[in-house]
Symmetry: C2
């Protein structure tokens, strides 16, 4: 592999992230142009549009997972959840459309596979919190996980719509989730 080629692949992935995040239907031509590269060159490195999307998503997910790896999820589960939110909301918001692109271009199996990394951390934290009595157990863990994602994405939407201040995002999400996850007090 020539150094030239590696540089181009990197530029393509970078441009792919930008373009797909802006428009999940971005064409291969758009991405190539944004990368400052001919369309033919792009096809020389990625056989399909699908392969390209998959590579972009995997790269983004790997980076996200690396960022999460440096977060301390120990101690009080509720405070750990706050830290998880603080580390998650911005990358999620920035790559929301990328996920949409992946949903449309990738077969469900591959889609699930790429997600598993970061999703596992959420599951582990929630299960630990349930066992410690910090989070409710009257609803399935899968539902709490779904609510985590839904809430972060809702914040991303409100942010984009101008209804939510960037500074308020993390506290708002965390406050809401903690309230939703708190075990019900027996009446």
């Amino acid at each position: 592999m020539r150094a030239d080629a590696l540089r181009n692949i990197d530029a393509i992935l970078e441009a792919g992230h930008r373009c797909l995040a802006a428009d999940p239907d971005a064409s291969v031509g758009d991405i190539a142009k944004a990368a400052g590269v001919g369309r033919v060159t792009l096809y020389g490195h990625f056989a399909n549009r699908a392969e390209l999307v998959e590579a972009v998503v995997q790269r983004a997910l790997a980076r996200f997972d690396a960022a999460l790896a440096s977060v301390d999820f120990g101690g009080d589960p509720r405070q750990a959840l706050v830290r998880l939110v603080e580390a998650s909301w911005r990358p999620t918001a920035e790559s929301a459309n990328l996920l949409v692109a992946a949903e449309r271009a990738l077969p469900p199996e591959k889609l699930l596979a790429t997600h598993e990394g970061p999703a596992k951390r959420v599951v582990e934290l929630l299960e630990r919190g349930r066992e410690a009595g910090a989070f409710r157990t009257d609803l399935p863990t899968s539902w709490l996980v779904a609510m985590f994602h839904a809430t972060v994405h809702a914040a991303a939407n409100e942010l984009a719509a101008g209804n939510l201040d960037p500074d308020a995002a993390a506290p708002t999400i965390a406050t809401t989730l903690l309230a939703a996850f708190t075990p019900p007090t027996p009446t």
Copy 2:
């Protein structure tokens, strides 16, 4: 207008709802075929794909709003919220993709306009609950509204993924939202 034409328009709208709910990218040809009608006939009644989508969405929204009109939103705001959830979750789940189709085909202004009807009921209920001390006021109403929609949609996804029992949907959503909306107890 001939009775024939009216019948066809109805069939087209019905088929449009079905097709778009199954696939937000359903083509005009697909919809015409599902309606048992030629493509030309469809274009005789709707100038654009956009006009067709808009008509389908408006019809769905009108029906939804009519369904909500027969629900009692008085009394305890918390119980009213439960009734709102019970009346909302199924139509929302069934037409989730329709909304996606609308987002892609309609200009933002028209999209917002169609939504206003049902959305207003949610806002009114939440504001009443806030004033009555039943719902939290430390987060903006717009955020609570966003959480309402996000939670219902999350349930729709979990339902489609087989992670949630249909019978459990309404209680799960209501329990989660009530917990999230409860005013924080001062520590």
